[in-house]
Symmetry: C2
Subunit: 498 residues, 2 copies
């Protein structure tokens, strides 16, 4: 950690512990520099970092002050799913809603991806070109699944920085995390098996379960600390769970982060039951304060299949993912040989070349600051424009906010109405097998054009207020949906039949 | 078709029809040029092409002569499978045998890939670099499954050159043909269903069936004309076949080519039974005389899912494949969204850039000549060195010869013994669900180092002769296997337990 990062960290902890309170003035850059015997530019960088994270603010000619907790919204309520076994059928809805989100004319608040402009694509292109020109032709045969030995070695090294020992032999290179997760699911389940997931959960997990013909049992979560381990323990007692698919770090859609202690309990619990954990950790690098350890760090029995990728942190569209699959590594590598054989060799070599050159960590620091800043802007915009009674998470990483609207507002109707104003959102219906999150939405803050994002959130707020008012005055809440035909997908059932 | 190609074609037909016979002298280049009113270089190019195909030979100071049919071996016998429903369990054996073939110290007669040295990798690298540098960042979101619109348009154009009309909307870009084939299988079957395949068949098809929990029924083939359509008709009458997975063009491992008339009957038969055809056409571009049409060319009902890739013809290791999936196109695109989401965008853009630049057809002409030449050399070497009674196919495209040894020789034992001399082969056991092809092997002639290939075939012949002699003198044929421990994989059961 650089000196300015250490200072920022120390101050952030003072704020978190309440030692420094909202409104407190920080020592000036000059004072801090003198008192601590460090350069003014180091202090300035630390303050800049804290400002970007939304913890302090500069007031002209007065200095730096600890901010009031930014978002005035309370947290969404903890989820209380039914925790019973359930067939999964969500894909049709997911395709209808997300197929629209590719349209670049829309403000992509519903997108699953951060803005592609946040990534070092020109540097990646140079690395790709160089690797392709130097490519030893025989690598096209040798880098089949489990993948390039050099790239797997580099991934093993990166695991060390996240506090996790992973042997390169355990790593299988895949086509994005999505393939890794699907292959892992294929290896640890048979069709008809039961899998425990979070409530709410990433719709991609639901689709993967549906594709393999698996049943789901949804487990309670807290919007800040994620999975309720006690609830999972009771599910494991009552149901024949064959695997868990969870996101301990910056869960999609909640943005929640499981504390270390909860991760340790989770891994121990699953080891006792001999249930494999498929750990989706694609947002782990996008932390705003400190790198969270994956649950894999506590794994002693090889039951944790940790899955990640560069798609959200470095190289969107390159589709380079991997899994550190513990005792299942060879089985996963073979499943890949049987399905997609190999991840493209120029992609493996290009990413390996990029990682060797260095620069990834510098890029990540920049990306984290940018995302932290957007989070503050988006949370403030939501506080300003959304109806009274709205709740929102305050994630410590990733780029999603989970919003709970007043119960009268139907998120699918809001989605339809928003489309007619060229805004996409991800309605809560997508995030559970029983479509229970009907007045929730996931908002992506990974897009840098803030004036446009702010205007879109204002527009969303206006639509939601209107729907709320109509509801109060006895109108049907579905009616707002009918104005959204401009962008309707034209495939399958209309949304309001759900 | 260029003028020299037309002339070569005309002469090849005269040879095929018997109008020109083995030993006949062709008119000299000067005579032909004068008689036909074409340039000497055109005649020379045509003769060169025919020579490469092994149809004529130059004798110093005498001119060009029609060759004696090169391979003196007869064709292997037509396959007569049991044609009953069968569980598929081949993967363990396939992984054991093929895991070894990645070792570049071995002469790769057992490899599934042609030599990577046969491909324009430097030109591809330039196209990749250029495409990556110019990449519009938003393409990383827009080129998700079904894939880049421009690349799909170009593939639609290429279909025209193979006598097949395919709409770009029907094309889904995949990670190699392997993913295309697996996705198609997923869309047209449910676990437990029955799929008709050729006997022998590509082990990758067997593995795909095994992975999805499907049963197989194997259908008789002829070593030159491939699938026996009448046999398939009778299978369809008796069994609840849900899909066919076939290779009408240059079948792996036979190298057989179904005549147009048989393809037309096949497609009509399946349309009557409303059974989808998954057509694996990865070798279609590697013809030695004329581009064969895919069965898809006769498809009127959208029941043919045509799958191919650039892996064998242009860009090994790039893992760019596709399917023209007829009425199943949208379902396939969605399955891909659920499993690997997208084929890497830089790969899609790089190949698209390469195709736009031109040069693919020039590369293909060169590649076809090279492969045709290797075929002759390998067939001659087999004729020279293998035991009496050996039979071999004479494929008109691709890079595989299917060899039937005397019945006493066990191909797995030969495989083990060959490994100890640093030679890989693909034993016939891999190519059917019941391991019935026990004295057969597939030989890859796609590797250009002919002296080494010839020496390896000589060594194989010597080993086979010895095994044959031992068998005659009462030794057990398994004993040869024990000398092959140097390269044994160390995973799972020893080969001779099969």
């Amino acid at each position: 950690m650089k000196r300015y990062e250490a200072l920022a960290e120390e101050l952030a902890e003072s704020i978190a512990s309440g030692q420094l309170r909202a409104g407190d003035r920080l020592p000036s850059v000059r004072e801090s520099s003198r008192d601590r015997g460090i350069s003014p530019s180091t202090v300035f960088e630390a303050y800049y970092l804290l400002e970007a994270r939304g913890l302090i603010e500069a007031r002209p000619r007065s200095g730096y002050f600890v901010r009031h907790a930014v978002a005035s919204q309370p947290e969404p309520s903890a989820s209380v799913p039914e925790m019973r076994e359930r067939q999964v059928e969500v894909s049709e809805l997911v395709f209808q809603v997300l197929g629209l989100a590719r349209n670049r004319a829309l403000t992509p608040l519903g997108s699953a991806f951060p803005s592609p402009m946040l990534f070092p694509l020109p540097r990646l292109a140079l690395a790709m070109g160089k690797a392709a020109r130097r490519l030893d032709p025989w690598r096209t045969v040798e880098d089949l699944s489990p993948g390039s030995a050099e790239l797997r070695r580099q991934l093993g090294l990166r695991y060390l920085t996240s506090g996790c020992r992973v042997d390169a032999d355990e790593v299988v290179i895949t086509n994005g995390a999505m393939e890794a997760l699907n292959l892992c699911l294929e290896v640890v389940t048979q069709p008809g098996d039961l899998v425990a997931i979070e409530s709410p959960t990433f719709y991609g997990a639901l689709q993967a379960l549906e594709r393999r013909g698996l049943k789901a049992v949804e487990v309670a979560t807290h919007p800040r600390t994620g999975l309720d381990v006690d609830a999972l323990a009771s599910v494991l007692e009552k149901h024949p769970v064959k695997a868990c698919w969870l996101m301990p770090n910056f869960q999609n859609p909640l943005g929640s982060l499981m504390p270390d202690e909860a991760k340790a309990r989770l891994v121990a619990l699953l080891a006792r039951h001999q249930v494999p954990l498929i750990e989706d950790d694609v947002y782990g690098e996008l932390y705003f304060s400190r790198r969270p350890r994956p649950a894999k760090a506590w794994d002693k029995t090889g039951l944790v299949l940790h899955c990640s990728s560069f798609s959200k942190s470095l190289a969107p569209g390159y589709r380079l993912g991997w899994t550190a699959a513990g005792r299942f590594a060879e089985a996963v590598a073979r499943r890949k040989l049987m399905s997609t054989l190999a991840t493209p060799v120029p992609i493996q070599e290009g990413l390996s070349e990029y990682l060797q050159r260095g620069g990834y960590d510098r890029h990540l620091r920049q990306l984290r600051q940018t995302l932290a800043q957007h989070r503050q802007q988006v949370l403030q915009a939501i506080a300003r424009h959304f109806p009274a009674g709205t709740r929102a998470t305050q994630p410590e990483g990733g780029y999603f906010v989970w919003v709970e609207l007043p119960a009268e507002i139907d998120a699918l109707a809001l989605h339809q109405a928003a489309l007619s104003e060229d805004i996409s959102i991800a309605p809560g219906h997508l995030f559970s097998a029983d479509h229970r999150f009907r007045h929730h939405l996931r908002i992506n803050f990974g897009h840098p054009d803030h004036p446009r994002v702010e205007a879109s959130i204002r527009a969303l707020g206006r639509i939601a207020q209107a729907m709320n008012a109509r509801e109060d005055s006895g109108g049907t809440r579905r009616s707002a949906g009918s104005s959204g035909s401009r962008h309707s997908s034209g495939t399958g059932a209309p949304f309001n039949e759900l």
